[in-house]
């Protein structure tokens, strides 16, 4: 009965002239192509939080590269015990530490330490995280099992505790490089996990199948097609890991297993000042502010970038 009705049913045929199909099919060649990065930049540009954090980061980088532009007072050599914990004096706007060193100069000269550790850790975490995450996610199977279990092991030791152990053993060799290595070796699994999940999502896309059909090699597909399309969450987590690395260095230095006291570091200065919290709180609070503002600016930048790169987060705003 059904076949009967269908054959007798009247079909509605749209008059072709009414919809200009040509206009629908045409690609606007002169319009700007839309992609994730361009959209993200357009989004980021409109947000004051981006400009504020970018300005602070720029300032911090300039201070780290050229401390001489901001202070002429040497941070270590000019200390006089008679100035111990003294308040501001002409030429010394923030006063003096317990050893009678200029606080302002020490903060300025400590900037490059924090930033260097943060950068080295971030590069290390990005390289290890991308290697492990990309191979585990893309090749799957036993490669994934081995790499992911390895990541689980490193992930299960909180990285500051791990760095405490490494630095207790390596205390004789403590430097910016060893401390960055101690943090970075244990901080990469989070990045690897994020990238692995993203690659699992991307690798089943049509464009990957198209590349495979064209005979592109597996490795080349990973490098040219899958990785560039799954790197966005890695960039977000990397920005935030820079902030965490700065905090980790300060925490280790605070615990006394970080940098030797000969290296200028905010964590060291805070650690030294803790006993004078009652009598000279400024010696502790001022480097703490420098540390917190730097960390805050990287966290804010990560936040803005996350919102811009993740359409889901944009919807939540």
């Amino acid at each position: 009965m059904s076949s009967n009705t269908r054959s007798t049913q009247q079909h509605y045929v749209a008059p072709v002239e009414e919809t200009p199909l040509v206009a629908i099919d045409a690609v606007k060649a002169e319009g700007k192509p839309s992609n994730l990065w361009r959209d993200a930049w357009a989004d980021v540009r409109r947000r004051p939080m981006f400009w504020i954090s970018a300005a602070i980061i720029l300032l911090v980088v300039v201070v780290a590269l050229f401390p001489g532009l901001f202070t002429q007072v040497p941070p270590n050599n000019d200390c006089q015990l008679s100035n111990s914990n003294a308040g501001p004096a002409p030429g010394h706007p923030l006063g003096f530490t317990k050893q009678g060193c200029d606080i302002y100069s020490r903060i300025i000269h400590g900037t490059s330490t924090s930033l260097s550790v943060g950068l080295i850790v971030t590069v290390l975490v990005a390289v290890l995280g991308i290697l492990f995450g990309a191979f585990a996610g893309f090749y799957g199977g036993w490669v994934d099992s081995v790499l992911s279990r390895l990541g689980d092991i490193f992930f299960s030791i909180p990285y500051i505790l791990a760095a405490v152990v490494v630095m207790s053993v390596l205390s004789k060799y403590a430097s910016i490089w060893t401390i960055a290595l101690a943090i970075g070796i244990f901080a990469w699994p989070a990045t690897a996990r994020v990238l692995r999940a993203e690659i699992l999502r991307v690798k089943n896309s049509d464009f990957v199948m198209a590349a495979t059909a064209l005979g592109v090699s597996r490795f080349r597909i990973l490098l040219r097609h899958v990785l560039p399309n799954s790197i966005a969450p890695v960039i977000v987590i990397t920005t935030i890991s820079l902030a965490s690395a700065i905090v980790a260095e300060a925490t280790l230095s605070f615990l006394g297993v970080g940098l030797p006291s000969s290296i200028m570091s905010w964590g060291n200065d805070i650690s030294q000042a803790q006993r004078d919290l009652r009598t000279a709180p400024q010696t502790l609070i001022l480097p703490s502010i420098a540390l917190s503002v730097t960390v805050l600016s990287f966290i804010m930048l990560g936040e803005v970038v996350r919102d811009a790169l993740d359409p889901k987060a944009r919807a939540r705003r």
């Binding site: 092991i153 053993v169 006394g256 960390v295």
Partner: protein
Amino acid sequence: MAGYILRRLLQAIPVLLGTTFLIYFMVFAMPGDPVVALFGDKTPPPQVLEAVRERYNLDKPFIVQYLLFLGGIFRGDFGVSFSGEPVSDILARTFPVTLQLAAIATVFLAVGGILVGLISGLRKGGIFDASALVVSLILISLPIFVVAFTAQYIFGVQLGWFRTTVGSGAPIQDLILPAMVLATGSFAQIVRLTRASVIETDGQDFVRTAASKGLSRRRIVPVHILRNSLIPVVTYIAVDFGVLMVGATVTEGIFNVPGVGRTLYQAIIRGEGPTVVSFVTVMVLIYLIVNLLVDLLYAVLDPRIRYVK
């Protein structure tokens, strides 16, 4: 469910072996004499060096050393502290204090964080939401020792509301300030996770169905939205347990809370390497067990998890 528990327990074994091996490897496979390195700048008396060598079986091949160390852990033997007290005895004394501190901190986190996150999520884009975002970003950026000193200075020294140091045998209310400090480390993350989860749940079909059935908002929010938003938050609290333990080390050290954290803190400060290794091992084991328990709890809360391979 039984299959899931078994699978999860089996998965925990290689991680357990791997982490203990990694810690052991980091200490005892380093170049030079690991025992001397563990004491840093200090030169301990030869008897102490000899005792540590004997304790860690350093005359035997590396893998045998590790297996003996592992065997000790399974028998509850975590070594001897610098003063000669067995680490397991110290744990028995200090663990309850840390547990109390962590419990109070978790209550602050769970009640405060979830409440603020819920309100933020329900009133997305409002003034409350915007200020909660700013405050949470600032809290994330403050290292825990900065928070601890600031709290100690403002509430302890200036206002005199709390005692600045806790010490042994102190009443439980002395733990409130350290617990609040400990909670700040994860507070912001809990707020933001709850907020995101609430916004996502609020857009689900079953919430719309509930509203169209004529249920009041007062019933929908706790029963339909909050309960379904909490699953990722509960898991996060477990993942974040590692942050809580590092935080406890610093917080207990600064406030002189006689817990596991302070013992580790003092061992680090004094450069007592072997004690540090023992306590880090213990903390990693606790972290693994908590994560295992929460994974199991997660399967109870969310039946979908059990069927995922």
